[in-house]
Symmetry: C2
């Protein structure tokens, strides 16, 4: 069961924008798009992004410095994430594959590290771009 977080005003504005965009968005592009709603400074954007990441409503695509709405309703926190990224059209989607997530969540090695989180990014060509 996913905990309901009541988003604050700025958090809601920014989440809705990212969610509606359907893809990854960069912080300053978000800023540009919400200036008409009164959010004027980078820090206002970054604070909302930080919180949204923390509660798992969005994830950061590290290799792109971009943020995408969680496409997996069961993601409560951003602690086990996998994405596929098309290097041609930059389309990104969240992978939800229970075998993969089980495999990675249970991964351990001889280093003595206790893993509590992972982020995996796959790169390649999407169906459309392959056939061009």
């Amino acid at each position: 069961m996913q905990k309901e977080h009541n988003l604050s005003k700025n958090q809601k504005i920014i989440f809705d924008l990212i969610d509606k965009s359907g893809g990854p968005m960069k912080a300053y592009s978000i800023l540009f798009n919400v200036q008409k709603k009164g959010i004027k400074a980078p820090l206002q954007v970054y604070r909302a992004l930080d919180k949204l990441v923390e509660i798992g409503k969005i994830h950061k695509i590290e290799s792109r410095n971009a943020f995408i709405a969680c496409q997996n309703s069961s993601c409560q926190v951003s602690k086990a994430t996998a994405f596929s990224i098309c290097e041609s059209c930059e389309n990104v989607s969240e992978i939800s594959n229970s075998k993969l997530s089980k495999y990675l969540s249970n991964f351990s090695d001889s280093s003595g590290m206790k893993y509590s989180k992972y982020n995996l990014e796959f790169f390649g060509l999407c169906k459309k771009c392959k056939s061009k």
Copy 2:
């Protein structure tokens, strides 16, 4: 067999620095450290880093915006990388686990994406930091 790349002067200076450091280094910290060797501008550093990443001598730790020398002699290119990152002391090491790399290199799903590359970052606490 790993192809021998003859590193250029700047590439060699920067690779040696990162390699000797034993851990991840950030671009501007690299810049600071090589100024006495005549490398004065960010672009000189970024160009060398780009090339070193391309040929697999170093990898970028995306979540940290940092670069680490390849610890896996068989990495010819940065196309299948996995790291463990301690969130307390920021120690990073490259994971070379053939089962893991085989599993991820062979991963495919129903999306129609053809994956040619991945990067995986595990986060947690290292042995030392766990016992504090």
